[in-house]
Structure formats: structure tokens, C-alpha cells
């Protein structure tokens, strides 16, 4: 019985091929645009937040407050952290390690070409391994730093790019950072995050003694022993820092939070942009829905006589309603399926072209299963909603008048 409905609906759609096609094209274009844009947005958002979110959930970042995203952490802050805090934090129960991170900008010279880059440190001693594990630091050539490596650096993958300094930097080359000669001992694995790929990494002793003129620290990375106690550890660190920095509760000029939390505001901003663009693309689906309504009205009008005949041989109002309802739902879902396929191809195609044109690895498309299912369900719903009023009108037609109806 139900199958019959669908067969009848399909038949009437195929009878008016041109009109059905045009109606579906309307929905299909809209769905394709939304799927493509949301896929691109999702990919881009993931790529951007992925630039920063390389730390596990068992790590807390301690930072002085200032203007966010004005540069590396610790830049544009008012009252920087000091290098004596890490040891005090490490004595808090539940803390595995507290590691000072120093970030220093400077000039980098190779092959008589210069760029401005930033360098960061790897701690010496027992913290070295903890830190390397924490950020998953691995070389693809040469080796990582070890204690006593003075004036030796490990470079991020982007330094091997020929375009950057005229020729590829290799292990064994000599480079200048802030005028000081360094040996390159290793090249990092490519991570797709600028924090690693554009980094100049050196031992803490060298970075602090040669290039830092005060006792300030950019960030303190705190690894907790047990993820369950991370809340308590956070509270204890906050209490310690309030005392050390002599500030009252509620007037903290520092933050202690997990890197994921710190990323939330950035992620929200990006999501807002994504939402705005999706809404604009969404308009075309609504327009497509109007197209369905229009087509269904025409169909009801054209088939008035048919409706009359069906009713006179016993079709109920409900049957007529269901028939038209299914027909419009089909228009929506077929348009949706084609649209999703096109959207998928389109977003990956656009991402590919974007990567070629801009050379940025950030441009990615990410079409999740939720997005596909959501788009499918939505296109079906649009079809149904768009068909409701025409189907209702068809179902309410008076059989006698309908039979008498002429165009």
C-alpha cells in the first residue's frame, strides 16, 4: 500500500520530466553550496585550531594576562610571569612537571637572505624528555637537542623550503639567529602547525643567556600526574600565583587553563564566521523550497481532474494528501542526494585549488558524516514542508467540482 504511493509519486514526477528536473536542480544547487561551504569551513576551522591544539588534556598552560592573539603567548602582556614560578608550581601535589617556555623573536639569516622568525626553548635535564613527549617532538632528519648543545638548533620543516632562503637548509648547515652563528643538527617532522613548522628550537640555556635580558617567561606548561585531579591542581596553581604576584581573588592578572579552553574563544569566532557564510548559502535552499511549492501547486492544479476521479472511486483526503506529500518529499531528497555528491566534489575541488593558488596547507575540506546526514534529512524536510500546503489543498478538493474542472 505504502509502496504504491511512492510508485504513483515517482510516476507523476517522471511524467513531467523537465519540470521535475528544474525543481530538483533548484534544491540541488542550494544543498551543494551549503555542503561545500560548510565542509570547507569545518576543514579550515579544524586546521586553524589544530595550529594551536597540539597539547594533550593533561596539560595546563599558565600565562600572564594581556591582549589575546596579539602575538605569541607572553607578548603584549602587562606583568609577565617570572622564571622562579615553575619550580614552586612543581612542588604542588599532583603536578608531574612545570616547564618554562621562552619564545624570542629575532632575525634569521641563511644564504645571505633574512627573515624574522621566533625561537623557543627545550628545557635541560630531566624535563627534556617530559617536554619532548608532551609536545610529541620528533625529527625527520638529524637529531633532537641534548644537554650541552651550545649554539646548535633544530629547525621546523618550513626552513627546508627552497623558496624561503634561496636554497634548502640541511642538517650540518650554519645559520645566523640574531647575528649568532648556529649549527643545524636536526629538522623536525612536518606537523602542519606553524608553531612547529616555522620554529627555531634551541636549548634553554642558550636562549635565555644569549637573547633574554630579563627574568620573564612566556608560558609555563604544567603536566599533571592524574587527569582526574586537574581541577584541584588548577585551583592550587591559581592560589599560589595570587600569593606570589600579590593579587586578590577576582583580580587575577594571569590565567591557568587547559590549551583546549584557551582555544575556545578563537574557535567560537571562527564558528561564527562559518555560520554566517552558511546562512547566506542557506538562502538558496529556501529559494529551492519555494520552487518545490510552486511546482506542487502547478501539479495539483493540473491534476485536479485526476484528484476528482481518485476521490470518486474512494480515495480519502488522507490518501490524496500523502500522494502529493510524498511527491514533494521525493523532489527534495533526490535533489539533496545529488547536491551532497556535488557539494562533496566541489568542496574538495575548491580546497585543492586553494592549496595550489595560496600554497597554504590550512585550506582543507572536511565533510563529516553528520553533515551528509543532516543535509539529506534537511533536503527531505524542505521538500515536505514546501509540499504541505499544496498537498493539503489537493486533499480538500471537492470531488464533484474537481471532476468538472477544465483548464
Amino acid at each position: 500500500m505504502r509502496i504504491d504511493y511512492i510508485i504513483i509519486a515517482l510516476k507523476s514526477l517522471t511524467q513531467r520530466k523537465l519540470r521535475s528536473w528544474l525543481t530538483m536542480i533548484g534544491i540541488f544547487i542550494g544543498i551543494a553550496a551549503v555542503v561545500a561551504l560548510m565542509g570547507l569551513g569545518e576543514g579550515l576551522r579544524g586546521a586553524i585550531t589544530g595550529q594551536f591544539g597540539f597539547l594533550g588534556p593533561d596539560v595546563l598552560g599558565v600565562q600572564a594576562s594581556g591582549i589575546n592573539f596579539a602575538g605569541p603567548p607572553g607578548q603584549a602582556v602587562v606583568n609577565p610571569l617570572t622564571d622562579d614560578l615553575a619550580d614552586k608550581i612543581e612542588r604542588i601535589p599532583g603536578v608531574d612537571a612545570a616547564i618554562n617556555r621562552f619564545i624570542e623573536s629575532g632575525t634569521f639569516e641563511f644564504n645571505d637572505k633574512q627573515d624574522i622568525v621566533f625561537a623557543w626553548n627545550v628545557p635541560e635535564g630531566k624535563d627534556r624528555n617530559i617536554f619532548e613527549d608532551m609536545i610529541n617532538l620528533k625529527v625527520r632528519e638529524g637529531r633532537l637537542l641534548k644537554d650541552g648543545d651550545k649554539f646548535k638548533v633544530v629547525l621546523g620543516d618550513s626552513f627546508t623550503d627552497e623558496d624561503r632562503f634561496g636554497k634548502e637548509i640541511k642538517v650540518g648547515n650554519k645559520v645566523l639567529f640574531n647575528g649568532q652563528l648556529f649549527d643545524v643538527v636536526g629538522i623536525l617532522e612536518k606537523k602542519g602547525s606553524f608553531i612547529f613548522d616555522t620554529a627555531v628550537i634551541m636549548n634553554e640555556d642558550v636562549l635565555v643567556n644569549e637573547f633574554r635580558d630579563d627574568n620573564s617567561v612566556n608560558v609555563i606548561a604544567v603536566k599533571v600526574k592524574d587527569l582526574k585531579t586537574i581541577g584541584n591542581v588548577q585551583r592550587d596553581i591559581e592560589q599560589l600565583l595570587r600569593k606570589e604576584r600579590n593579587v586578590k581573588e577576582g583580580e587575577e592578572d594571569f590565567t591557568v587553563q587547559s590549551p583546549q579552553n584557551a582555544l575556545q574563544s578563537l574557535d567560537q569566532t571562527l564558528f561564527g564566521v562559518q555560520l554566517f557564510i552558511s546562512i547566506i548559502a542557506f538562502i538558496s535552499i529556501i529559494v529551492g523550497g519555494i520552487g518545490i511549492t510552486n511546482t506542487m501547486y502547478t501539479a495539483v492544479l493540473e491534476r485536479t481532474k485526476e484528484i476528482g476521479i481518485m476521490k470518486s472511486i474512494g480515495a480519502t483526503n488522507q490518501t490524496i494528501f500523502t500522494l502529493f506529500f510524498i511527491e514533494s518529499g521525493l523532489l527534495g531528497i533526490v535533489g539533496g542526494v545529488v547536491g551532497i555528491i556535488f557539494g562533496f566534489v566541489l568542496s574538495h575541488g575548491l580546497a585543492f585549488m586553494g592549496r595550489l593558488a595560496l600554497g597554504s596547507e590550512l585550506i582543507r575540506a572536511d565533510i563529516s558524516i553528520e553533515l551528509v546526514l543532516g543535509a539529506l534529512l534537511f533536503s527531505f524536510l524542505v521538500g515536505l514542508i514546501a509540499g504541505t500546503v499544496p498537498a493539503y489543498q489537493a486533499s480538500k478538493k471537492n470531488p464533484v467540482d474537481s471532476l468538472r474542472f477544465t483548464k
Binding site: 519540470r19 544547487i29 596579539a70 547566506i280 529559494v287 520552487g291 502547478t298
Partner: protein, 403 residues
């Protein structure tokens, strides 16, 4: 003759009210979106151009390179000595370095982090001219203003920076020192700039003794009759030699206001272009809808076409009838779309202004309004041209026989 055709087309549009209405609705939605988006794009560009006009094209700035937001990288700064050197270069009428640093402002136990600028009080008029702001309330900084501060516009508002608004003459804590508020600047139109605080050189240097003589950026005004971009090149050249740097390895750059604003304008153009393209998709869908409506109309009126042809209508006449009809659908959609777009943009502009983004204001040039309606008309006419062509090619005999 043509008037007759238009009348006939109108009549047909009116006869199928529901179908015409839905088609118009689908067109007007797209036009609304496009009109609204472009009006904001134009408004933004106007804003930039107004700034350019007020600041004058005779301004340049010198800025250090470095990592992060301009002026925040303390390893790269422009030194007093550099400024003294540049000042002697031919073609410069005025020059002033501006200190730049993050500060903590505090009132009633509420803490905020904003940018603080240190300005040479003897050059305050020049700096205000370059920033295109003036004091709105109170007075500007002058020599000897110690422990006094001029605040950005937003401090006067409630629930913006602090819960309570700040009044003239009130005390405010900046980096744990107490300052007297002596003035407020006019609204610049974005929350970041409108929360800045301004001190004299002396005050800034006492707050940040380590940063003395190290500037975030430097404003320059070119002499009359001097081409600012040539002057920029000359400054780059001489300052590079003065700092003992090689070409291509400068740790600073010089840019004219015009170039900087041009870059900004291009970004606006690209961004609004992308948004308009996305909105254009809905107009494509609308044009498919229109085509559909017109095909249906042709099928329904086959007999009518046959009759018209039988009494002497030429193919061209039939073509015009249907093209005009779909063009009318488009034009009506365009007209309503423009009106709706206007309402939406105006409301959006007001909301943006209330949120502190008063630079985000729409502008409605006449070309946009007329262009949108014309465009909608052409989209309608173009979508109708295929069905119309099919109608015009119908054989009168077959058409008359059609059931």
C-alpha cells in the same frame, strides 16, 4: 505596440497570482541578500575613504617588523635615534614617534587589558590629525600632564569596558598607578581602538622606564609638493644605511597611508565579493524557478499561442510576450528585494553600531539600487528566454490542436 505587449504580460502575471507570487518571492530573496551585502561592502569602503581623506594622503608611517600584532614585538622597535635621524631627511614636514604597550586598567576591582599609547604633547595636533580623532569631552594632553590620561570613547559607556561608565575628572588605576581622566576621544568605531588610553611621553616613560626611546610606530607627514611614496622610498633607503642594514634585510618598513588603506580596501573588496558570490547562488536557483514557471506557462497557454499565431502574431511577438513576462517577474522581485535589503541593512547597521562596530555601516548609492533592479530584470528575462523561444517556435496548427 510594445506597450500592448507589456500590458498583456502584466495581465498574465496577475492572472496566476500564486505562481507569480512564489516566483517573485524566490527572486526577491536573492536580491535582498545581495543588496544588503553590497551595501555593507560599499559602506566599509566609504569609511576607509573618509579616513583617507581626513588623515590626508600626505601621511606615512614607519613601523618595525616582528612577530605578532604591529608594535607589540619588543625585540623590534624604532629608536629615538632613528627618529632624530629621519627627521633631518628632506621632504618631511612633521614626525612623531608613538609609544605602544599593553596596560592594565582597573576600576572598582574590574580589570581590563588594553593598549596604551604615549604621545609627544608638543605634537598632539599632528598625531590627532593622523589618527583622525579629536577630543570629544574634556581636553587633549599637553606638556606637563603627569598622572593624567585621555581615554578612548568606550569608557564613557556603561557595560562596555567597565560595568559603570567613567566620568571626566574621575580617578582610574593603570598598571597600579592612579590617573586622573582629563578627556575622552571621539568614537573611532571599533571596540579595540575605542578602548585605548593615551598618556604624554613623560607619563609613559615613568610607567615603563625600560621602554624609554623605543617606539611602536612613527607617524610622518610629507611636505607639500613631495610625493609620499617617493618619500617612503627615500626614508627606507637612508634609514637602512643609518641602521647599517642591507637591502632586503631591514627590520622596519615605511608605508604611505594611501597604500595601507588601499590594501585594506582590497581586502574588503575580496571578502564582500566572496559573500556576494555565495548569495548569487540563490539567485541562480531563483532563475531556475523562473524558468520552470515560464515553461509551465508556455505549456498551459499552448492553445492561446496557437490562436495568436493564427491571427497573425509573428514568432518575434510571441518571444517578446514571454520574455517580457519573465522580465516583469524579475523586476518586481528586484524592487521588493531592494526595499527589503534596505530595511535589513539599516537595521543591521544600527545593531552593529550598538555593539561598538560603528564603522560597519551600510551605504546605499543610487547605482546599487538601480543596478539591483535592472539585474533582477535581466535575470528574469534571461531565465524566460528559453521557454519563450520554445513558445515562439510552436507550430500554429499543432498548438491549436493541443489539449
Amino acid at each position: 505596440m510594445n506597450l500592448e505587449l507589456i500590458k498583456y504580460a502584466f495581465l498574465n502575471v496577475k492572472k496566476r497570482k500564486l505562481r507569480s507570487g512564489l516566483t517573485i518571492l524566490s527572486i526577491l530573496i536573492g536580491v535582498t541578500a545581495i543588496y544588503a551585502l553590497i551595501s555593507f561592502g560599499v559602506g566599509l569602503q566609504n569609511y576607509v575613504n573618509v579616513i583617507a581623506e581626513q588623515a590626508g594622503i600626505d601621511k606615512l608611517f614607519i613601523q618595525s617588523r616582528g612577530i605578532g600584532a604591529p608594535g607589540t614585538d619588543e625585540n623590534f622597535r624604532i629608536l629615538r635615534d632613528d627618529i632624530d635621524f629621519v627627521e633631518k631627511i628632506n621632504g618631511i614636514q612633521e614626525i612623531s614617534g608613538i609609544y605602544f604597550k599593553t596596560v592594565e586598567v582597573k576600576k572598582n576591582r574590574q580589570l581590563k587589558f588594553v593598549f596604551g599609547s604615549g604621545i609627544d604633547p608638543s605634537k598632539i595636533d599632528f598625531v590627532e590629525e593622523a589618527f583622525t580623532v579629536g577630543v570629544e569631552k574634556g581636553r587633549q594632553l599637553k606638556k606637563g600632564d603627569f598622572d593624567k590620561v585621555v581615554l578612548g570613547h568606550n569608557y564613557q559607556l556603561e557595560d562596555k569596558i567597565f560595568k559603570k561608565s567613567v566620568a571626566l575628572g574621575e580617578k582610574i588605576e593603570i598598571n597600579d598607578e592612579v590617573f586622573e581622566v582629563i578627556g575622552f576621544y571621539e568614537k573611532i568605531g571599533n571596540p579595540q581602538d575605542d578602548s585605548n588610553v593615551f598618556f604624554t611621553y613623560d607619563t609613559f616613560e615613568s610607567l615603563f622606564p625600560d621602554d624609554k626611546d623605543q617606539f611602536g610606530f612613527v607617524m610622518v607627514k610629507a611636505n607639500r609638493n613631495v610625493d609620499p611614496s617617493l618619500l617612503a622610498e627615500r626614508i627606507t633607503d637612508k634609514l637602512r644605511k643609518h641602521k647599517g642594514q642591507e637591502e632586503g634585510k631591514e627590520d622596519f618598513f615605511v608605508q604611505t597611508f594611501e597604500d595601507a588603506l588601499q590594501t585594506f580596501n582590497n581586502i574588503i573588496l575580496i571578502l564582500s565579493g566572496i559573500l556576494v558570490l555565495i548569495a548569487l547562488v540563490s539567485l541562480i536557483v531563483a532563475s531556475v524557478n523562473t524558468m520552470n514557471t515560464m515553461y509551465t506557462a508556455v505549456v498551459e497557454r499552448t492553445k492561446e499561442i496557437g490562436i495568436m499565431k493564427a491571427v497573425g502574431a509573428r514568432n518575434r511577438d510571441i518571444l517578446s510576450i514571454f520574455v517580457i513576462e519573465s522580465g516583469i517577474l524579475g523586476a518586481i522581485g528586484g524592487l521588493i528585494g531592494v526595499i527589503l535589503g534596505f530595511l535589513i541593512s539599516s537595521t543591521g547597521g544600527k545593531i552593529a553600531a550598538q555593539a561598538g562596530f560603528s564603522f560597519l555601516q551600510p551605504s546605499f548609492p543610487i547605482w546599487l539600487t538601480i543596478g539591483s533592479i535592472l539585474f533582477a530584470f535581466f535575470v528574469g528575462a534571461a531565465s524566460g528566454s528559453l521557454p519563450a523561444y520554445r513558445a515562439s517556435k510552436l507550430k500554429p496548427v499543432d498548438a491549436l490542436r493541443y489539449e
